[in-house]
Symmetry: C2
Subunit: 213 residues, 2 copies
DNA sequence: TTGACATTCAAACGTTTGTTTAATACATAT
DNA sequence: ATATGTATTAAACAAACGTTTGAATGTCAA
């Protein structure tokens, strides 16, 4: 070999990510993946050692990097501002998930894959929580704390951050249902409308932290 | 026959609901269901006509009734009050989902089953949206509208209601992840803490509707 | 050219899948 | 008792599943 780009392996990861995110692990067959990747059936076992290990490889080699990219774009959006206010933080978070650095299909794959693993914990869940979600939430917590007018315990603040993430992710997750209920397509116009709605809703929601308990 | 209670059919629906909600449609085999139901393999085809039709029967004969029960308990909680204020409406909604009339396992099955269908639309999705979600959301909209200090278009109000539902459902959905991140068990104490948090967060969030655009 | 290595391929492996079949058991009505 | 319709059973079905195999490629160094 030499500078072999191992194209088959990459194609397998591409299609596996897409299909697993669309249908879930059990509903996708190895033959479906290899057909979509235009390679031989045995390629999955040759390159990854089995279907289950391919699923894990998708998370380790694709999902984790997307998550980093997403968080980088969030941090980037707030760079330069010494002390971003609450609205800027929330808007940057919503934007990272809804309009961030990923393409539309990348975004859909990414979030649906995460959701499947979070609500149906498999072998990748530990990695997601510890290496991605925990740091990201702690990051948000430390950016939000200076914006508040009173002291708040870490745990209470984390629940509020989770609530905001819940709003953002749910609009994504239940996308087909949301479209059906609102009679709205998920086009660019609707997405930026969503960002400003979410920002307003969460910005006000966080004000509960500034009130007496 | 006569007053045959058709016990096998009921057991099949019970176990199918549990297993489908825990693992998803594709990951559950007919043999797994019939073993858990302590009946013969052919019973699924005899009573329902196939695995797919059993899945639909779970939604029609079990899920839909649970959803009605849930909405009834929400309406009941607000009965008597001629003009419930916003906090009462929101708190009743959160309580209906988190502490409502269902047992813990019923609740988990119910919400996870809905979520699977909403993010992975199958044949039951249309029924869920049109017969359950749309009416429930419209119900919430008409209860919330009188609480606002300014006129708001229907569509804008619906987005806000969806946001509140998002918060509630996400805390349920990502339950394993939430527990992992907060180091909290989902016991009774934490649930009622969640209800008051969600109420506070959403109550403030809805205030955005009372502000200038 | 030869040898060694990495990759692809068609074919087959043994299981498990959803579904069907035909026989049996059981209750009720005639 | 006999007939009738419902429910359950063990056994078998073809199809699809994940995985393995061994031969056929292609590639680069010696």
């Amino acid at each position: 070999m030499a500078g072999t780009e191992d194209n088959t392996r990459e194609r397998l990861l591409d299609q596996a990510e897409r299909l697993f995110s669309e249908k879930g692990f059990a509903a996708v067959s190895v033959r479906e993946i290899t057909n979509a990747s235009q390679c031989n059936l045995a390629a999955v076992n040759y390159h990854f050692g089995g279907k289950q290990k391919l699923y894990l490889a998708v998370f380790k080699e694709r999902w984790a990097k997307r998550a980093q990219k997403l968080q980088k774009s969030f941090i980037q959006a707030l760079a330069g501002k010494q002390q971003p206010d609450l609205e800027e933080v929330i808007s940057a978070m919503a934007r990272a998930f809804l309009e961030g650095p990923l393409t539309d299909s990348e975004r859909r794959n990414h979030i649906q894959l995460m959701q499947r693993e979070l609500s149906n914990p498999g072998q990748a869940m530990g990695m997601i929580v510890q290496q991605v979600m925990r740091p990201f939430i702690q990051n948000l917590v430390s950016m939000i704390r200076p914006c508040l007018s009173r002291e708040v315990e870490d745990e209470r603040l984390r629940i509020y951050v989770l609530s905001m993430l819940g709003v953002v992710l749910y609009f994504f997750l239940a996308r087909p249902a949301v479209s059906g209920i609102l009679n709205q397509e998920y086009d660019q116009r609707f997405k930026s409308e969503l960002v400003s709605h979410i920002t307003a809703f969460c910005l006000n929601g966080m004000q509960a932290l500034n009130q007496e308990r």
